[in-house]
Amino acid sequence: MEHITKRFPGVLACDDISIHVGEGEVLALVGENGAGKTTLMNILMGLYQQDEGRILINGEEVRFRGPEDAFAAGLGMVHQQYMLVPNMTVTENVALGYQQAWKPLKLDLKMVRDRVIEISEHYGLQVNPDAYIWQLSVGEQQRVELVKTLCLGARFLILDEPTSALTPQETDELILLLKRMKDELSIIFISHKLNEVKALSNKVTILRHGKVVFNGETDDYSPQEIAALMTGHEVQLPENKEPDMHGAPALVLKDVCVRSDRGFLALDGLDLTVHEGEIVGLAGVSGNGQRELAEAINGLRSVERGTITFFGVNLANKNPYYVIDHGMGYIPEERNVEGIVPPFAIRENFILKDSDRERFSHLSFLKKKSIEENAKRLRDDFDIRCPGTSTSAGSLSGGNIQKVILAREITRAPKFLIAVYPTRGLDMGAIEFIHRELLKKRREGIGILLVSEELDEIINLSDRIAVIYKGKIQKVLPHAEANRRNLGILMAGVNEDE
């Protein structure tokens, strides 16, 4: 790709970008949220048309009018959000884009099925061609995406943040798999996670604000150097090395049982205590009850048995308003649909929990001026990059949406904070910011329950680490005793004491 330029209304998404990838090479494309990585790849796949510049494949200029042209040229992309139909089988999903199988009046599913098996054996990608997509875990769904792309004859793979939704184990498997595959394919790999970039890629290109700021061989640079180039300044993730602050118990869960949406016991007699002024990290492979735990505490899910004592009050089976009113702050897992009302302006999202309070309304009439002042202050304090406070929150990038939520939750002056996957999918700069804010709250004597699957994040920030497995706390370790190895073993459900 040479001199690619793409404009969106009011934004220059790609500004004269050139990249090239050789056969059998892995190029890592890194950059902060909104740096233009995904836009660039969408141009390469023919989803957008570039305004300027050209694309060359094997020295020949090509022009893709749509994704079909890109497929035909041997390009394939696995998107961040998987493009699979949940109530169809793996074979049927692959058949959707598989032109050869579409005969007049007949869809040759058997041929597709054979091809799926052939590809999965060739690359060591285990998939069951007859499974329905909804039955598969996120990691398995990703393998289906890969098989689908390869079945369509891709020789050149584009992976957009392939590990953002995977568990640590699944991530390691994927990296191994891609390492094997790169002998036969060229790969562009978009990621925030620099250790993965180090492990997999030959070359690295860094984008910032739509421009290439760095090009080089991966082996010559350390993750810290790449991170600094990416954000434009030295990134040092903070660590919790501060004196012990912890005070009285703030949140005490006793024998809590909660059912999941599918009806099984997602929490099965869970006990956990978090004190004031301490960060308790809840480590675990996602899907072991973390979501249900956060929802049960916040009144969004009914509790079958047990008590949730919050400063002496039982929160079990209370409504969300009651929980908020008692001083709970909550950064939810799904920031785009739960943490914000997407079409609402940023300033409206800031008062989501407080529209009734005298500060923002009088006799149920909203106070326009104080809402606006509040929004301007939070925008500046939390460095939320947006055209204005009336911009709809849903149009912001993931990192800025998370900052909106964080700003709201922290400035409401909560007595306690629950943060669920607070940095998932964010770039280093945003992660650093959020970590610092969490530590600042701890210094103020606020108790924090930090749910995460990033072990580094948990180890860096927590005073104590609880490992959740199948709806129970497996073990609680003090910070000094925890390391990646013993946490990993506990997360897998093995308890050495037993």
Binding site: G10, P320, I324, E338, F344, S355
Partner: protein, 366 residues
């Protein structure tokens, strides 16, 4: 890149003109095929009603119920429930209004008229509450429940007019139109000119009130939050099912009020067919008006114009009302499409670059 004012104006005007031409062309082809006088038909539908006061008042009396219905529908829509049951809610409002008027014809007007209108609101509100609470508590699709309740309301309406409220004189004369007896003068809304009644002001005041409610109060804020993203609203401590049910009561209440005003202002008795598909047109008006009072008021006028125009066409130019309805459908689709094109910012930016290139080139030449 800055977009100049001139460009924006030319761009918007250009697209609206293209849309209008497309609608005109398609409608002309249809008219030409049935052998009608094309220009005369257009004049009759779009301009003739604007030329005389009498015509204008007829347009406005159609716009009044449309406006009130669309305001109510927009409240429900903003709160996350699509109310296509306004037709039934309006019928229930008419019945409740008529029942009060028949039951206490001797009460003085300052008492009876508000009481009857309130009954209309309650009748429609009850009919809106049923799908509202079903959706809030049991997640019953409102598309299903409101349409089914429309059927029930329509049959109940007919039953009432033919049995319970049937005009006693009807048994003697037997004109064949099921209707109630003429209601007491104490429920009549005053008239401004022709058949145009004070409901016009009620509709305009309601438009202002809806704007204040939805955009200036915490109540409206919560309803809009619940409608835009219910999970985020629930997370924020908003009782989503409560606001869903309330929004449907309000929506139904507006429909019932529209029914009551229609009787009090225009017909002065309950007649079959009084709802006149207003409940369905109201959905179109609400969407067409961008679910905002400032859009709904002009949109209801436009639709009042089209509906009235279609009643003129058969007698003036011999074009059947059915064909006029086909043309209306075409015009609406074209205008809505044009609105979508206008909201496409990508297209606007691209056109702006072309415009600038063209403009600068001309400058160089000069």
């Amino acid at each position: 890149m800055k977009m100049s004012r001139t460009f924006k104006f030319v761009y918007k005007l250009g697209i609206m003109l293209v849309a209008a031409l497309a609608a005109l062309l398609m409608a002309s082809i249809i008219l030409w095929m049935i052998g009608a006088d094309v220009s005369q038909t257009f004049y009759t539908i779009c301009f003739l009603p604007l030329t005389k006061t009498l015509h204008m008042t007829e347009v406005l009396i159609r716009a009044i119920p449309l406006c009130i219905l669309a305001l109510g529908i927009s409240i429900a829509y903003r709160s996350g429930i699509i109310n296509i049951g306004a037709e039934g809610q309006m019928a229930m409002g008419v019945l409740a209004f008529t029942a009060v008027a028949l039951a206490a014809p001797d009460l003085p007007r300052p008492l009876l008229l508000p009481m009857a209108l309130l009954a209309g609101v309650l009748g429609g509100g009850l009919w809106g509450f049923i799908p509202g609470i079903l959706k809030a508590k049991l997640k019953v699709s409102e598309l299903l429940s409101t349409v089914m309740l429309n059927y029930i309301a329509a049959q109940f309406y007919t039953f009432c007019l033919r049995v319970l409220m049937l005009d006693p004189a009807e048994k003697m004369t037997g004109s064949g139109t099921p209707q109630s007896m003429r209601l007491t003068a104490n429920i009549e809304l005053g008239r401004l000119s022709g058949r145009l009644h004070y409901g016009l002001f009620i509709a305009l005041v309601l438009a202002v009130l809806v704007y204040l409610l939805m955009w200036k109060t915490t109540f409206g804020y919560k309803m809009r939050a619940a409608g835009s993203q219910d999970r985020a609203a629930r997370y924020g401590g908003i009782n989503v099912s409560k606001y869903l049910a309330i929004s449907m009561i309000i929506s139904g209440g507006f429909a019932g009020l529209a029914g009551g005003i229609e009787i009090a202002g225009v017909h002065r008795r309950a007649i079959e067919g009084v709802t006149n598909n207003y409940g369905f047109s109201g959905v179109v008006v609400a969407l067409f008006g961008g679910l905002h009072p400032a859009g709904i008021v002009p949109a209801s006028f436009l639709f009042g114009l089209l509906i009235y125009g279609s009643t003129l066409a058969p007698t003036r130019v011999g074009v059947p009302a059915n064909i006029v309805q086909v043309m209306q459908g075409l015009i609406i689709i074209v205008i809505v499409t044009a609105q979508m094109v206008l909201s496409n910012k990508y297209l606007e930016a691209r056109m702006c670059r072309r415009w600038n290139a063209l403009f600068h080139k001309q400058k160089e030449v000069a």
